[in-house]
Symmetry: D2
Subunit: 382 residues, 4 copies
């Protein structure tokens, strides 16, 4: 015999086995012949797949999982020492890889979550991409992110959205390294194959390396209930590039104080929450990612909830206990965890701290836009 | 040596190798240690993945591929003989499995396309699911699909949308088998984990087995430019359950006739096209699937186009040549083929036929809803 | 006595009188001085006006009123003999003047309704205006309205919208005069001062004087549930220029037949109704005018309803009794009547006719767009 | 002579005269008979009215006019002495009556503008109405407006929207009288007959008479880019009840500073402007009224503009010159003036003041919602 025919078609990736079970045809020789025909013609019947493809409710491939902040920072810091930042790799970002998503850098099937680390004086080069991104700062300061030439300060508690297709670079203007988290819709873009990317200038200009307290975007758009007449609408992405902790903290404190005064303004007793919004629409900051900050008063517990779509949380402050499906963890500052689609979630603040502050991002805007969102609060069925 | 510790954590799915390349850190012992740390902690750096995850433009994992109708019908017919239809398997549907999507029954990363086959007298049991679906009939007749109790006739050329969460069953009221194609957003729902499913009654009622020429939905919603005052809005799904070939054909013929009379109403010379729309909104029939019928006059060629998102085509009538990326096929009635995201596409009708009619469905509404749609027509860059 | 000072300010239009009543200040000399001061400074206090300006619910200045079709036609026909049609006067249109709106040609505070009349061979010159308009044909045929160069046939039962800023002319291609009704938002534009007008060509081209059975707009947009891919969205106005009686009649007949078969698809027993819609949005044909056709089966009576905003009705066929507030009339083909804002309305078809067909147009889209719409059906309070 | 027949119909309000002119039929006996027929049947032809009803562009019935603040305050203060506030009259509000709108309390055909005045310790009783309202405070403080039980402080520079159908009362908690201006859409509601009104409690509760620095609405909704998760959407009206001067002032100052730094963020050199928006939608605070604050740097002049719809301005600070159509005035704090539909408008700040701050409200949202808005900036044709 001779070498394989180079013109032969590649072997079919389809593999079908006749099995016993409800809704399955009886195994037989004829069935085997049929399945071989399916394989040859690149066909797969519904009846062998329906249980996996069409479950009664979402059964996530992702697992609940927790990453400890000290371990993230330790490894990021080590990367800071030995991995340079520059064109090609683009960013010193290290992503959470959900343990049941095959080793891919996907926190959930739709969301990317990473720790990014920048050494003193370092620059991350300019680029832009259609993936939507944000930064959230759990500790530290000293880095400015430069978005379309507008330098934006990053400090503890700040939320910095960076909607798709904006040019951006980062530079550390301080004498200490700085770490923060990035959230993006990379897995969603990857599965749906809708992503574009462009490299920018090798170096940003000197003026863009300035370190103003407030970015231009904040000076234009950061005034409550006011919009600048000169600026166009921005339905696909928020024009406000920084949401400062001083505002977020005050909004949460106001809700808890109003609750104390007898007004029903919390999600449940002791549970305040705000959503970061696009001031030009009132909607989510980005078309695919919803970002929120939650605060539980000492000892308070959130109502159990589950919803279509997945979320990633980071503990911003305090300590407490979180429950995701069958898993439960004690959590502290910086810890990150994943809530898969339709998994029940609750959080409880410790009694001996002022409270528990949780930053959350999730993919709910995708499902709302497509009329596919569902949520259960307070009681979640089987 | 002893048995494995049953309490040991499962091995990490993350595997990282230091490699040489632009943007990659120099391989070193320290880097190896770092990568082992990443694996242990379920972390993956961006710099090893960015080329795959963030390409310059969509590079689809799916391949252009063609399935011949006669082969589909032959296998479906064989399945009709040996595979029963009933609860559990639910439908005798056989799906196209794109050759580069790992043997999964996914025509593209977001779309399911299948041939469904029903023998004389057979019933497919009632169920409902959040996945959006439609039927398109390239030949035959005799089956009624019963949607929320409304029997809808299926005949050659008819398009029958079935938006998510409507109860539906099928029954073949004729003496011949019947085949048609189903399109759904199963892969999209599967990746994004947003699907719900319920089984319905074991048998639909006698009245629902009637075989009216027109469904109730058509009698209510099938009048051009008119809406029934008694019916609520239906933004998430079209309330019209059948789009008849007589209307589609006439609309396409009208466009070509108007073009002949000197009016610019075609997409390009000799290329007429209509979209199936939700009469209560004017938008797409379903939130995730766009459906269209295209007609090329004999010898006419469409302008090359590519867009974010994928499509599946079926030849409804005529013959011609279609080009998808690097592939080119001669096509005839019933043949189905796939256009992956951002792959250039053109079609040309043969000169010796009246024309080429192409049914198309795609996932563009997803990207439009999320402000992520892009399209190039006429000239497509590198 | 001397001549009036030509430089003196014009006398103030404000006139105030102290009166006795709840919420009114006691008449006094000081009050008189205050009121003279108000007059001088062009000021009016709320307290003397609030009863008129801020009633408990709308109290229309317009009256219910009926115009008999035979009288309208007789006078229009007489105008046909002695009043030419041409530039300046523009149209031989004769408007209903609500008896309590001061002799202005306003059927209601927002709506214009007129009979238009064109003699054999006559042309009405081309112009365009931002006021939205439509034609409805209660009898006759032979006129084509030419909209942006597209000749549109007008026949009994046809509804022909003509959204603002489209060029249009009319020509009578037949040997008989023809009458029809025009509806516009002239009073609304007049009060809100938002109107623009331009004269067009003195004569339309020969090709535009052709008399096709179907207009180009119908060939593009008149297919149920289908939209032409080549045409842009048209959110502010329907692109479909004719809604034919054959379709309207069939839609109404279908509803009554479905009701007979046991389905709840009518507004109330024996009361079918359709709305004319923009096929590119599913919404109203024009931003300010809603148009509908109602059919009451012999002997059926509509549920009483009242709503914010006014309507004008024309009897298209049959006979019956209509009640508007305190007024009640026996009506027959062509009769027109007005339902003021918040006035209760019911209609009842005679028992000895097949039914009563009522064409209706109203201003509800204005209030819906401004979140100001309210409606009561079935029981209307004091 | 005999007594009038009590059953005779009332005399027709229609009066028609045959006139000479373009587009007019030749006067004749037949025409006179026709016109008498029209009068009898309550009909008016288009050809005698078209010039008034369908002008080439809006020709406002309203006049440009200026009211001096000192005269308004003087008369309001006098009213404070002799006109009580209470149920029936409801408010001590004194409205601007445009000199060419027949003595009605209408600043423009759609807008009401009034000075309201409350004596120390006085209450204005609770009521609600569908008319949309706001308060703007050009000077003074000490009054709280209580909206749905939420006391809202009023101080110089504050803008306080009060969308339709919210319960509201006012109380003066200080030892001085206070004046402010009210803006409403009363004329628009009046012409379109869409208004509802309800009286509320005779006295508001003691807790509602508290005088908090910040209202509950501000504590919930007054944080930039943040929304409370517990609160529903509010598309028809802003949930934020006070826009504080400190924010408005800072936003305007930021724009001028950014301009100085070389960024194009002003409407034209030296002209900063913000719009008050609904934080839950990013759109106008109310469906019918747009509110803005404009700031001209010393010596700067705005670009001439005209638009469909009318506006009322109040000078908040500084001095300057404003031009409206043919009129020009020197203006100072508190002065109010009217810009009719389509009248060209410019403002110029004096050179010897820090600048000119102008508060503006207008009816543009009505026209935008109805696709009828038009604007010209920079050059306005004949």
């Amino acid at each position: 015999m001779t070498a394989a025919n180079p013109n032969a078609p590649p072997p079919s990736p389809v593999r079908l086995s006749a099995v016993h079970g409800p809704g399955q045809p009886e195994p037989s020789e004829a069935l085997e012949r049929l399945y071989r025909g399916f394989e040859r013609e690149l066909l797969v019947p519904l009846w062998t797949e329906i249980g996996d493809l069409m479950p009664r409710h979402p059964r996530s491939k992702a697992s609940p999982h927790l990453w400890r902040w000290d371990r993230l920072v330790e490894l990021a810091s080590e990367a800071g020492r030995i991995v340079p930042v520059g064109r090609g790799g683009e960013r010193r970002a290290i992503a959470l890889a959900n343990p049941s998503l095959g080793g891919r850098p996907f926190a959930t099937p739709t969301l990317w979550a990473a720790i990014q680390y920048l050494m003193p004086g370092e620059d991350a080069p300019e680029h832009r991409h259609t993936q939507h991104a944000f930064r959230f700062v759990v500790e530290g300061e000293g880095v400015w992110t430069v978005v379309n030439g507008d330098p934006v300060r990053m400090s503890r508690g700040d939320f910095l959205p960076q909607a798709g297709w904006n040019w951006h670079a980062h530079h550390n203007a301080a004498t200490e390294p700085m770490a923060w988290i990035d959230g993006l819709d990379i897995p969603f873009s990857y599965y749906t194959e809708s992503q574009f990317f462009e490299v920018g200038r090798e170096r940003i200009g000197a003026a863009e390396k300035s370190t103003p307290e407030r970015s231009r975007s904040e000076r234009l758009w950061g005034h409550p209930g006011l919009r600048p007449l000169s600026q166009p609408d921005s339905p696909s992405a928020t024009p406000l590039l920084a949401y400062r902790w001083v505002d977020t903290d005050r909004a949460l404190a106001d809700q808890l104080a109003l609750e104390q005064e007898g007004h029903q303004v919390t999600l449940s007793p002791g549970h305040a929450a705000v959503r970061f919004t696009n001031p030009s629409t009132g909607g989510d900051v980005m078309p695919t990612i919803r970002c929120e900050m939650h605060r539980l008063r000492a000892g308070a517990e959130s109502r159990v909830r589950r919803e279509v779509g997945s979320s990633v949380f980071q503990v911003f402050d305090g300590t407490g206990t979180v429950t995701v499906g069958e898993r439960e963890w004690e959590v502290a500052r910086g810890d990150m965890f994943v809530v898969p689609s339709w998994a029940p979630f609750t959080a409880r603040a410790s009694r001996d701290v002022p409270g528990l502050d949780l930053f959350r991002f999730g993919d709910a805007p995708i499902f709302e836009a497509l009329h596919a969102h569902r949520m259960q609060i307070g009681e979640v069925g089987a």
